[in-house]
Symmetry: C2
Subunit: 229 residues, 2 copies
């Protein structure tokens, strides 16, 4: 018997290493195309040892998706300081950073990847959407949102997803343009709702009141007026 | 031997009957909850006979989804006559009719139902989105869309999907309000894009030029200006 030069990893440490290796591979190529053999090889362990820690590829995929979901939800957290438009723009930058880092895996998941339809992956995707929703309401200072505000926020979250997916498919528009555009889209969707509903109009006036003239909210209004004339 | 009073159905006729019965059941409750036994009973035939025409529930689900997809795509077709806003509003009405008729099945599919992730169901959902995209471009009179127009149209289609899903979840906002709101959302997203891009601005000016003052496009502009002042 010899004493190994490489320290043995504990169970939890090994699991975390495998999740990291798998997430890296699932982010660079569609998870469909990543094999357990490849994950084992990238982690420097045998295929049977991978199965010792994860019963199958789906459970490893779900663990990787859990880590990615936690990561993304953490990027939504923004200090409650300064103009709202600027806060949302900073979050959009971090969102596109995430999408950029996990492109193929993000596309595969949102377009219907191998493990989509599993109740675990659906619940994780929903939990990230819910985290985004809760953050936005907290920045708007609303605890009991009317149905029209909930619609604007949730449907805008879905717009941000589809915009990111379309961006990934060829990257024909620079993300530096799409980030402020999504902030403006939020303002525009809120304005459409406010155009037909007094409660939304009052909310929007309160939001816009403190926005600086050069911020993404106010500058949009100026540009739209110029466009209309 | 006796001569049956009920005429025997041909193979294709029986298949079409089963698809109709299944679609009806899949539309009223989540397809997860509908059994082959129930479909057989509703069609007035035995369970083994269902399997004679469809090897399993997935293939019957896919056939029902194919019929629903064809139905929905046909509702997107609108004569190229009159103002664009009014055309889009008529399509939105037919879209909400469809969503209303197939509520639980539509939700289950779009939120990740039992057969989601099958390449056939994903392809069908994508084909409907593509049909909507092609129709909108034809009404805009654009054959070779710039990337920013493609983004506006495709991301708006996804906004219409999420708006319909949110509507189905409690129906807290009347659909009569959401239909024109989605037409306005389209104009608003196009306007945001036009605010930052000259090609989109020229396109939007051409679209709005022929819109009547009381149409959904022009009335939004007036309401937004009133909101801003």
């Amino acid at each position: 018997m010899t004493i190994g030069v490489r320290r043995r990893m504990g169970v939890e440490e090994r699991r975390q290493q495998l999740i990291g290796v798998a997430l890296e591979l699932f982010s660079r190529r569609s998870p469909d195309e990543v094999s357990i053999d490849e994950i084992a090889s990238a982690a420097g362990i045998s295929r049977p040892l991978v199965y010792h820690y994860f019963p199958g590829k789906l459970s490893l995929y779900e663990a990787a998706l859990q880590r990615a979901s936690d990561d993304l939800a953490a990027r939504f957290v923004e200090p409650h300081e300064g103009p709202l438009g600027a806060r949302l723009l900073r979050v959009m930058r971090r969102y596109f950073d995430f999408v950029d880092e996990h492109g193929p895996g993000f596309s595969a998941l949102m377009r219907g990847g191998p493990a989509v339809g599993s109740s675990t992956t659906n619940a994780l995707v929903d939990s990230v959407r819910q985290a985004a929703y809760v953050q936005i309401l907290s920045h708007l200072g609303v605890t009991d949102p009317p149905a029209r505000l909930e619609l604007v926020v949730r449907s805008w979250i879905s717009l941000a997803e589809s915009t990111a997916l379309i961006w990934l498919d060829g990257r024909r528009i620079p993300r530096e343009e799409l980030e402020p555009q999504l902030v403006n889209d939020f303002a525009a969707l809120a304005a459409v709702s406010a155009a037909y509903d007094e409660e939304m109009a009052a909310l929007l006036r309160r939001i816009v009141k403190d926005e600086p003239a050069d911020g993404p909210f106010a500058s949009l209004a100026g540009r739209l007026i110029a466009l209309a004339s």
